[in-house]
Symmetry: C2
Subunit: 412 residues, 2 copies
Amino acid sequence: MPLTNESFLRDFAQLSAIGATDRGGVERQAGTAADHETREWLAAWLTQRGFTIRFDGIGNQFGLFEHIPGAPYVLLGSHLDSQPKGGKFDGAYGVFAAAFAAARIAEMLASGELTAKHNVAVVNWFNEEGCRFTPSMMGSGVYTGKLNLDEALDTLDVAGVSVRESMNDVIARDGYAGPAVACYGEIHIEQGRLLERDGITIGLVDKTWGARKFLVTVHGEQSHTGATAMEDRQDALYGAAMMITAAREVVDNFTPGILHTAVSYLEVLPNSPVTVARETTFNMDLRSADETVLDEAIALLEKAAAEAETKARVRIELNLKHRWGLLAYQPEGVALAEAAANELGLSSRTIMTLAGHDSTNMKDVVPSIMLFVPSADGISHNEREHTSDEDCVAGLTLFTDVTRRLVAGELA
Amino acid sequence: MPLTNESFLRDFAQLSAIGATDRGGVERQAGTAADHETREWLAAWLTQRGFTIRFDGIGNQFGLFEHIPGAPYVLLGSHLDSQPKGGKFDGAYGVFAAAFAAARIAEMLASGELTAKHNVAVVNWFNEEGCRFTPSMMGSGVYTGKLNLDEALDTLDVAGVSVRESMNDVIARDGYAGPAVACYGEIHIEQGRLLERDGITIGLVDKTWGARKFLVTVHGEQSHTGATAMEDRQDALYGAAMMITAAREVVDNFTPGILHTAVSYLEVLPNSPVTVARETTFNMDLRSADETVLDEAIALLEKAAAEAETKARVRIELNLKHRWGLLAYQPEGVALAEAAANELGLSSRTIMTLAGHDSTNMKDVVPSIMLFVPSADGISHNEREHTSDEDCVAGLTLFTDVTRRLVAGELA
């Protein structure tokens, strides 16, 4: 089966049918049956094209093409897991573009058309999304030594199932340590509107926004929703509501667009319609292109928490659970990708990534190149997420050429 | 076994051991194993004292003592179900005081000490709490024709289990219609601070606060918590937070104490730490001694909803699901109980009930008497809920005497 653009789109549609939702999205949360099914699909696709499949301890799936025995790998990838009712492009486009580009390179190596300095491998990182198991970017976090393997394996979902228990036998039996990697490449949808607004096909990611992710707990007391005097209440949901509002409105203190905040997950105890909440727990997510802004926003939210404690007669704990800084991608990687885009006649611009990606972890340990293709209306983590066939193919074409250059050793 | 005050306290402690929590409360939500266990315990206790146990279609448990064949019953009762981590007095004190008072009356009838006009029966109403299955006061609601039996039986809990499925075989096989009732009596803990503040032992309930219970749904759109521009978000949790805050702060527009409001139950979809919420659903509970205040507060909350719709770019639906008016208890019942308290030397005052009770339903169909005993610090729906032995016994003494008068036909 020749590796044409048409077969790329056809096979990607087949992949998108796994865990498909009725509104055009996918639901394949990490470690679920649908997530395992995508692994099997990818394993079959890569095995047919001469790749060897291995799994490391956290369930990262590697497809290895070893052309030069013992040489390090150019590793390409992203993630096949999704949000609940998520889009079919987020992560999956990047994994399949990686597989397809790597397979094209493998053909060039086999035919002698390309002289390699490195081998080529594909990776499907475990649990990038972080919805079922927090934190996000778990597989690449463990691979890069930022997360402890055992702690990650012990992480529980809301039903009390651990990451370890969510692994299947194929993963559990392997115990591979992962390949030695020379450099890393990833392509992803933008999940924002900048490329679309500027009419540009390729984003050359040069920086990651900084992020601070808190888990907030509000401690109150149970009481009767009807009978208890208002001044006697210690309402943990009222305290949470004040903090959710404060977290959203803190952005009004800064230059528009410089700070993104969100609260999107909330648990209420006992969550009864007739009992005032004794405890609430929620995430609080801050991201900015400016670390000073993050610090200032956190100081304002700590003040808001103190006010909410008094007003709702509760105790509020802000626990910082995950953070990443404003680290740059290697400029020589950005330059290599820009040159490749120019030669192919593809419009490009540098861009920051607001979301975290597996490359956010990988760039801190090896030279990494991150590319974006446009997202229609910037919609993501939504079944309506969309990238045109034309943009998908343009991204694949560039990603293949970038991979060719990396395998040839152009990134010194 | 003689029906002494000591044996009342001892047996009540035995009942309180069913579903006991480690902090002195109970957890016996409607239709759970612990709830069924209390039914069996009560059935055994009453059967030993000559009562016949029957269940109607919604699972209300009746203990019947038919002294005069065919005569209507004085019905006494409350509920044995509890909130999650609830108190051991709320409902259960009333059911067991009813059983104990009825057993004392049954002894008087058997010995010829009392000449009866009515029979006497005890009831343990199904699902008064309304935490697992809404609405609250379900069993008495069906009995009084305010709720449709089939709709009540089809009500689902969050796990998708219906009321019908939560019933056990004993209940399902019976299919009793319930006794013909001449009048109703209930004793309950106050769940407020007024009796304690005034140093008074008995509350003579003359009115119920009005209540309006809404289910609110906020419709937004899923998006990425990090990447999506703030102005593009349609955040259903932000919309909910604004409404929760508004529902709490609306009370500041009114005379202190005249309005109680609460939001205590909230579901978030998809409830992922990395995806802005597409939908939230929560209860909104308003209670007042003044129906005009309820109407004004609702108008203010409708205005707040319109503002939240614009600010959070969401759509908000306020659905009124349950309401009750400011109906009085029969004054002749209040007078009868007051006279009995005076004769026994027990201090009493009239009091309104802020919470709904099964008597809230019963008083609309038969003459009903509702008594309160003090709650320490007004704490309820909490494991720390407490009423002293002395107050429990004083309430039992009065309730027994009120029952004697009712059975003798003093309430014409």
